[in-house]
């Protein structure tokens, strides 16, 4: 499966959608196809997680790490403050999430019970307790103190010893460290260490032994519940924001106009005739509704043709009504239509005809970067007995037809002579879609200002967790 798209070039005339750098703005539709391909992939941020203890840089000689790298034992008899047995996780804590959390279980508190859990940087001196050096922090079991860089710690929580499960975590939203004991939060402190931090465990007296849990087993602390309540706090702040009246109405109406869903628009207008007071739009900034209703009938008809898979008729109609759209045979719109024709032939099992058509109309796109990966994925349909069960199943769905219909829709809207140059790209998406993109980008920007730490906006969460 091909993944990331290289930028594409296509020979464009004046009448197609050009951004400032001359690229076909319809490329966004190609990206949507690629998005379909990644649908099932998990929405992770590509960060590797800590899974086990790092045996390479640990304070060897003072401690022994088990073969499964999930427990550590202090074997020496300690003599002084520079013979702490410290071990870090194999990877730093991920940052592009709301929290990170891990736990230790004290199997044996040894002679002095000087166990610690905390976070340290990569360069940490591995013979000192976490928290005894700057840029580290540690919650110590022998005194229940929290140490964060000064020699003297501060009273923080209860001591901990044999059979206790103690956890250490980072809350990126509030920029705090937090610690737990046996399932309850002990306390939290501000995190003023920047950069990547390694989960760290330390043992310091003979026979101390500690098991480490990086998430393979169930935690004693309900971290999911904690995250949910933290999200709730953010959510409560958001929910207090007042929503301008009728904004939903405006967004839905422009959405329906944009996509040319004429019948639905009629139903909506009828339903809202008596309910909604007229919207007062500031004329200067107004999006002219008449522009959105431009060529509504034609757009509706073309949409219906494409939705029914009648690509030839669609192409003929476009040639008749808006020849400028199909003039450049290498444009995104033409590509999508030809692809769809190919797909329609595959759908009805006319594979040989499909191959011929593909050779005739799609082959020319193979050389062009930006189209190639999709052409290849399309042709891959031919390889399967049951293409609908393959990795390229999405091409056969009605949603693919919708996507092509949307591209045609946008192309027709772009022929509107009233559109000012500034608003060139306006017609490519409805306001609602633009709003969502803006939200995504703003959240990413906000996160990058936060040292790139924390969660970002996930539309899925809003749609699934709507309270």
């Amino acid at each position: 499966m091909n993944s990331s798209p290289p930028p594409a070039n296509s020979a464009n005339g004046d009448t197609t959608n050009n951004g400032e750098n001359g690229q076909d703005l319809n490329l966004n539709f190609l990206d949507k196809i690629r998005l379909s391909a990644k649908r099932d992939a998990k929405e992770d941020e590509g960060e590797e997680l800590p899974t086990e203890l790092n045996t390479i840089n640990s304070a060897g000689g003072f401690l022994v790490v088990s073969p499964d790298k999930l427990s550590v034992k202090y074997t020496n008899t300690n003599l002084h403050g520079h013979d702490v047995g410290v071990v870090q996780a194999n990877k730093p804590a991920p940052i592009k999430c709301l929290t990170y959390y891990f736990e230790i279980f004290v199997k044996d508190s040894g002679i002095k019970g000087q166990i610690a859990i905390g976070f340290t940087k990569e360069s940490f001196k591995m013979r000192r307790q976490p928290g005894w050096e700057v840029n580290s922090c540690g919650y110590h079991g022998d005194d229940g103190y929290l140490y964060r860089g000064q020699g003297k710690g501060e009273p923080f929580g209860p001591k901990f010893t044999k059979d206790d499960a103690v956890g250490g975590g980072i809350n990126y939203a509030s920029q705090e460290f937090f610690f737990t004991k046996n399932g309850t939060i002990v306390g939290k402190i501000p995190k003023d260490i920047r950069g990547h931090l390694f989960p760290t465990v330390a043992v310091h007296s003979q026979n101390e032994e500690v098991l480490v849990n990086f998430g393979k087993k169930k935690f004693a602390f309900d971290i999911k519940g904690y995250e949910a309540s933290e999200r709730n706090k953010q959510q409560l702040a958001i929910e207090k924001i007042s929503i301008p009246p009728n904004i939903g109405y405006g967004l839905v109406k422009t959405y329906l106009l944009h996509y040319g869903y004429e019948e639905t628009l009629d139903a909506f207008n009828l339903a809202t005739k008596n309910t909604v007071p007229p919207i007062h739009i500031d004329q200067e900034n107004a999006i002219d509704e008449d522009d959105s209703s431009y060529a509504l009938k034609q757009r509706k008809n073309l949409r219906q043709l494409v939705r029914n898979g009648e690509i030839d008729t669609a192409l003929a109609e476009l040639q008749k009504l808006y020849p400028q759209i199909v003039q450049d045979d290498k444009s995104v719109v033409c590509f999508l239509l030809h692809c769809q024709k190919f797909i329609e032939l595959v759908r009805v099992g006319k594979l040989e005809e499909g191959v011929n058509y593909g050779r005739l109309e799609l082959a020319k796109f193979v050389g062009l970067t930006g189209f190639q990966d999709i052409v290849e994925d399309c042709f891959a349909l031919l390889a399967y007995e049951k293409p609908e069960e393959s990795s390229v199943w999405y091409f056969l769905e009605d949603s693919q037809r919708e996507l092509v219909a949307d591209a045609v829709n946008a192309a027709i809207l772009s022929t509107n002579p009233n559109k000012k140059d500034v608003q060139r790209s306006c017609h490519l998406q409805s306001h609602l879609e633009k709003l969502l993109r803006q939200l995504t980008v703003c959240c990413l920007e906000r996160r990058s200002l936060n040292g790139d730490q924390g969660e970002t906006f996930r539309l899925r969460h809003v749609l699934n967790n709507n309270r």
Binding site: N274, L439, L449
Partner: protein, 211 residues
């Protein structure tokens, strides 16, 4: 902020359709929702049709100035809902009072006010509104009074919205649509970026007419 990020951000069409669909169902536009489902091929989520029909009726009664009918229907739908939401109960009763006044039925209004509205006067937070509402009696032409907004369709819409949300919440449905949540999020993030960091988002001016 790199404006090119905006160009390359992709949103799935299904998500857009879902957002619109949930808005339509929340506001009981069932015919529109049906039409949208067949136009886009997006399936409607399984929702309580009966619940939606009733909410639709209730909303319409309020907008059509039949607040008492809305009151009755709400009681039928969920017996203790209005008891548990005194604010709403008060708003509905006030609306009925206003309807009586507008119909010129001042004696009836007075009687209603004394029996049903006055008891709310014992609770401090209702006093101001109660006084406003009762004061309408003093005007030959209530439209010209300072409380004319109580007669407006915007106000009726507002009460209808509140009642709709409360019923949804009471019957274990989300009381806010994803669309509204998204608008709130955009507002919050924009505020953050502007205030905290002095960045003004200039690229997106075509939204200012709506937000």
């Amino acid at each position: 902020m790199d404006p090119r990020q905006f160009e390359h951000t992709v949103v799935a069409d299904n998500d857009i359709h879902s957002i619109v669909m949930s808005y339509l169902l929340h506001n009981c536009f069932n015919e529109t929702a049906d039409s949208l489902a067949s136009s886009t091929g997006v399936k409607q989520p399984a929702i309580d049709r009966d619940n939606m029909e009733r909410r639709k009726q209730i909303i319409h009664f309020i907008l059509e100035r039949k607040a008492l009918k809305a009151f009755e229907l709400t009681e039928q739908l969920a017996q203790d809902l209005l008891e548990k939401n005194k604010d709403l109960q008060f708003d509905l009763l006030c609306l009925h009072f206003v309807e009586l006044i507008c119909a010129g039925n001042c004696t009836e209004a007075l009687k209603f006010g004394k029996t049903r509205l006055a008891p709310f006067g014992k609770v401090k937070k209702y006093v101001e509104k109660l006084e406003d509402v009762m004061a309408l009696l003093a005007y030959e032409d209530p439209e010209k009074s300072p409380m004319f907004h109580l007669l407006s369709s915007e106000y009726r819409q507002q009460v209808a919205d509140n009642l709709n949300r409360t019923i949804l919440e009471h019957t274990n449905h989300p009381s806010y649509t994803p669309m509204e949540r998204i608008i709130q999020q955009v507002t919050v993030v924009r505020q953050y970026l502007t205030e905290e960091n002095g960045k003004v988002i200039v690229v997106f001016q075509y939204f200012y007419s709506y937000i």
